[in-house]
């Protein structure tokens, strides 16, 4: 308990922690403010305007086609004829049902549709902060010799490292819960002012709550992995280096190689697909080079669906491997 208290104090005494959390909050505020500014609420007035705009566009396009048809007829037999199709009837007039007024509506923030992306944004940003703060929290301790000092006081190695990790995870749980609540509240208000909160049924709220929970899990795994890697390498830069290396190798190198090799569903080997699968519950990848023929639908691309359970197992596996390795080396390594 005393160790946990000391570690919490240490975490918040560090300027690095304060700076990064402040940075995250500033970025979040910027996202919220710009969303507020670029959206507006829509009522009958805006709908009428959008409908008028759609109608006007339709009329402009109809006139243009008629003019073109006339030019086409006139050009027949002259040198300009090759600029037009041989049969001028191919220039068909636009149809009104193709001019949906919704395309002419100003951007508006529909909470139910738009908030999930915002929840993902929050989770991704906090995950990044957790990773870096987690790495630096233990990396700087190793690097500065503080870890050795602490072990002279508390010679239980696993307990010391475990308490540090626990401190980090509990702290980020609290931060994520508080920020998620604020974030949800802020966008709910924003939707009331610059959009709508219609159709927020209990079911819709539940799915948003579950999504935020998955976001929390993402934040915690990111923090633990940053912590574990930095502890393994006994340096903050180790975690960052490994991650940048992994990103380059997987995201760019492996992606390119697989693409060249024409491997099916390349995206399934890359990180973003899994992140989306985790946050949005599933992602469907399509292979446009394939043809799954059916007499009804014609040629359909083959699909692969990644579900949140698959992504969750991957996250859990990553957590277990990295934290397990960090604990294992902590138990047996010589501290010099």
């Amino acid at each position: 308990m005393s160790l946990y208290r000391a570690e919490t104090r240490r975490l918040f005494k560090r300027r690095f922690t304060k700076l990064f959390l402040l940075g995250a909050v500033v970025v979040l505020a910027a996202v919220a403010v710009s969303t507020f500014l670029t959206n507006e609420s829509v009522g009958p007035e805006q709908i009428a305007a959008a409908k008028a705009e759609a109608q006007a566009q339709f009329e402009r396009d109809t006139q243009q086609v008629e003019k073109d048809r006339a030019s086409c007829e006139a050009a027949k037999g002259t040198a300009q004829a090759n600029q037009w199709p041989p049969d001028c009837a191919q220039l068909t007039a636009p149809r009104l049902e193709n001019y949906d007024y919704e395309w002419y509506m100003p951007p508006t923030f529909i909470f139910r549709e738009s908030f999930p992306d915002m929840a993902t944004t929050l989770a991704a940003l906090l995950a990044l902060a957790a990773f870096i703060i987690g790495a630096s929290f233990v990396g700087a301790e190793w690097n500065s010799g503080g870890m050795m000092n602490l072990l002279l006081w508390r010679p239980q190695r696993l307990r010391v490292l475990g308490t540090k990790l626990l401190t980090l995870l509990l702290t980020f749980t609290a931060i994520t819960v508080v920020l998620s609540a604020l974030w949800t509240g802020a966008f709910y208000l924003l939707a009331e002012a610059r959009g709508s909160t219609d159709s927020m049924t209990p079911g819709a709220w539940q799915s948003i709550g579950l999504m935020e929970l998955r976001g929390l899990a993402l934040v915690l795994v990111a923090g633990a992995v940053g912590f574990g890697l930095a502890s393994l390498g006994r340096h903050t830069a180790m975690a960052l280096g490994v991650t940048v290396g992994a990103l380059i190798v997987f995201q760019f190198g492996l992606g390119a190689v697989l693409q060249l090799a024409k491997v099916q569903f390349v995206d399934a080997f890359l990180i973003p697909a899994w992140l989306i699968a985790w946050m949005d519950k599933e992602i469907t990848l399509e292979d446009y080079n394939s043809c799954d023929f059916s007499s009804v639908n014609g040629c359909q691309p083959e699909t692969l669906t990644l579900t949140w359970t698959m992504a969750g197992s991957l996250l859990a596996g990553l957590f277990v491997v990295v934290v397990g390795a960090a604990m294992w080396t902590m138990r047996s390594r010589d501290i010099t």
């Binding site: 010679p155 047996s332 010099t336």
Partner: protein, 325 residues
Amino acid sequence: MTAVLEIVGLRKTYRSRKGTRKALDGFDMTVDAGQVHGFLGPNGSGKTTTLRTLLGLIKPNGGRMAIFGKEVPRHLAETAGLVGAIVESPQFFGNFSAQDTLSLLADAGNVRRQRVTEVLELVGLRDRGKERVKTYSLGMKQRLAVASALLKEPKLLILDEPANGLDPGGIREMRSLMRNLAASGMTVVLSSHILGEIQLICDEVTIIAAGRRVASGSVASVLATAGGGKVRVRLEPGVDTRGAVELLRANGAQVTVEPDHFTVGNAGNPAQITRILAERQIYVSELSPVSADLESVFLELTGTAPVEGQNRQVDQTAAVGGWGQ
């Protein structure tokens, strides 16, 4: 007397990609309660390795260690509260102040915060305690390290080269601090290569060379046994001194020639000298033991005395052994 610290047959081999290095090779050490105990050895002889192993930072390959009669590292958690230690050059997180560093340690070890102020005062950092450690000089960091070791009011204080980086005033203060601590019942183990220091404040010493104990006991007894080997020899006037020296050297003696006499450095048994010389009808007029200081004893025991025309490398020790014993 009860042994506060007991090490028997400690072995440690470092393994790395570049190969293995035997740092400790059956090292023994005993420290009794209430002593200031000097732990002497040349660079790379295994002092820090010994202390690290004792404190559970590295795993030994063999041997037995006990602190206050409790086997370590198995009972380290129980003894940790009684042992204050600094190992090697002190290292702290540079962006925290001394005050923060110590109060975090105090929290982690359930020590009352008031103690932080006390130890800062004790090591002379009271007025600088709020500054970041990054801005400290080496000596100030060393003082902070001692403060952190004293924080939990230990019964056994282990300091690895605490005089490193201290100014003469600081060394003297450290010396009187240690005397006071020992007087208050604390046992202090002090690793150092500054021999004058050890001679001044230590009750007993252990000397280590190449991972093995080469001498131990009270300073006086170590001086007597080791220094007893050095004798001054004066011959009758007019005798061929050079011939006598060559004769002794041929028999393996380490002879240093002075203007009117010579000294034999490794004479375990001075009678040998008279016997060898007398066989050639050379008679000595004076044969007296030279009282050695700790430094020459150290150099002799650890085999690290400089040899003219050679650059001694670390880990290089001359074959140690008496002559004529």
